[in-house]
Amino acid sequence: MELKNKKLTEAEFFEERKQVLSGWQTGSDPALDFSASLAYLRQIPEEKNFALKLIKAKNERITMIQPRAGVPIVDEHIKLLSFLQNAGADFLPSTIDSYTRQNRYLEAEKGIKESERLGRALLNGFPAVNHGVAGCKRVLEAVDLPLQARHGTPDARLLAEITHAAGWTSNEGGGISYNIPYAKSVPLDVSLRYWQYCDRLVGFYEEQGITLNREPFGPLTGTLVPPSISNAVGIIEALLAAEQGVKNISVGYGMGGNIIQDIAAIHALQNQTERYLEQFGHKDVVVTTVFHQWMGGFPADEAKAMALIAMSSTVATLSGTHKMITKTTHESIGIPTKEANGEAIKASKFVTKLLQRQFIVESGKLIFEREQIEREVDSLIKFVLEAGKGDLAQGVVKAFEQGLLDIPFAPSKYNLGKVFPARDNEGNIRILDFGNLGFTEDIKEFHRLKIKERAQNENREVSFKLTVDDVYSVSKGNLIGRPTKD
């Protein structure tokens, strides 16, 4: 069947569903019958519904907080999440382990057993598929907040089925954002198709009166991603999701480090997602934004890491974003302890609450950057649609093939990997090498100028060395990777 941006018919969906549920033994749980799952979802109180709580954040104009967290054993995971809830989280996650993300449920099973035997976590997350609907429900019922699966799974169909049936009211990811940064050899048309299923599942629940939230993963590789590239991907995934009937979408963005560019990116993301949804005929979708605290390499020093966390929270609040994903002071070392995670939540929440409703909205620079991002996004999406001869899904596949869309530092072989970003002299993320990126000539000229300005300021040639220096710089305490004297 050829990939098209078109809503799966109920017949297609139900046909595919049989196969999906047979992917692992937990798929045969009768709790996965829609009669059962719908009944379960209907009795979930409003304050535990991810989508409804996000609408609340939007109406109240406040920034809510969500950590990342996941451990292999259910009871331990419950302890962890309860701890984070008490620390002040507004939304809870379940970060899924890397074997599950690759659908390697057998290895995940081994990881669970080994972790139980040794009494320490050998998996880097919560293997939701292996734990099945029952395990996932136990988690949901033990906490008071909405739950979301956060992962990085190209084929998350079974994961989505199990977690939604267990009352987890949001799923993160998308056919691009959970493939290109998270896989090496999964073809893009395949992951897009898989994610149509995930979205159709949410659309199905929506048709039955249950609103679930979907969140494209904004930060992509988390490493010097120019705002227009990540925004374009987020908008495209929002459009693909809406086509399948999703009505509550959060688009995300990973902090870049220049405050004005970051705020501009969030504003542009909100504006353009709404505008494109309208334009594609989806008039009743609620759009919110998600701001990720610094997603690149973190400083090892815990005081510095905490400073970066609080600084990120300041920018997030000023941007008016609706949800912020937190990091921890252990970021550069390993999966954080629950205590470290809790401290970061407390610190982040302190800032968002203290600065509540202080927004930065005006300033010429901000408007300039926002319009620049919007122009670039328009250019990218135009090239994508052209490549797909009007079909968005087809266009995405073609655009990645040709490098019209290209995500820096991504591991996937379906990503051209010719785009190299670097910071300009003010620390804004610009593009040094475009590869074949879908930018019009005037946009390219702007980037060239900006990068040249910086290189001249540092008395050096424009080269890949700028990119390399910028990858390291924040963890070393500088935004811009200037050449050092020694």
């Binding site: 074997y99 993300r101 690759q102 080994e114 390499g297 550069s332 070392i333 390993g334 530092f409 591991p411």
Partner: protein, 134 residues
């Protein structure tokens, strides 16, 4: 030019450090065979045999390193390259753990050098030079 096989083991997709390592070792004058992310134990060994490399430099960032690296030395011996030098670094276990213990576990798996989180590739250049004899 001496050959070094680099890559990221297991279901790990952290690609950034891998690209930086390739860039740095190439600049330092080595012939770098980069098998990239999501590489199995076997991928590393095959690449080393094909290119007659003297050093395999394993990256593991995502926390499953301990599961992924088990049996590394034994597989090398089986494949007839039992005395190849093995390095591992990145964020090789789950969470913040006492590194002397962690190191011990990986040394016992047959690694020659085991690096704690935050050791950039530049810091290991000296060891590489020493071990490859220069």
């Amino acid at each position: 030019m001496k050959s070094i096989v680099i890559g990221v083991i297991g279901a790990d997709v952290h690609a950034v450090g891998n690209k930086i390592i390739e860039f740095t070792l190439t600049n330092a004058g080595y012939n770098v065979i980069n098998i990239g992310v999501l590489s199995s134990l076997e991928d590393f060994i095959n690449a080393a045999i094909e290119t007659d490399a003297k050093l395999i430099l394993v990256s593991s960032l995502y926390g499953h390193g301990e599961l992924d690296c088990r049996g590394m030395r034994d597989k090398c011996i089986e494949a007839g390259i039992g005395d190849i030098i093995l390095y591992v670094g990145g964020n090789i276990v789950v969470g913040k753990q006492d590194f002397t213990e962690v190191k011990e576990r990986f040394l016992q798996m047959g690694f020659n050098r085991v690096y704690p989180p935050g050791t950039s590739i530049e810091k290991a250049l000296g060891d590489i030079k020493a071990d490859l004899g220069e």
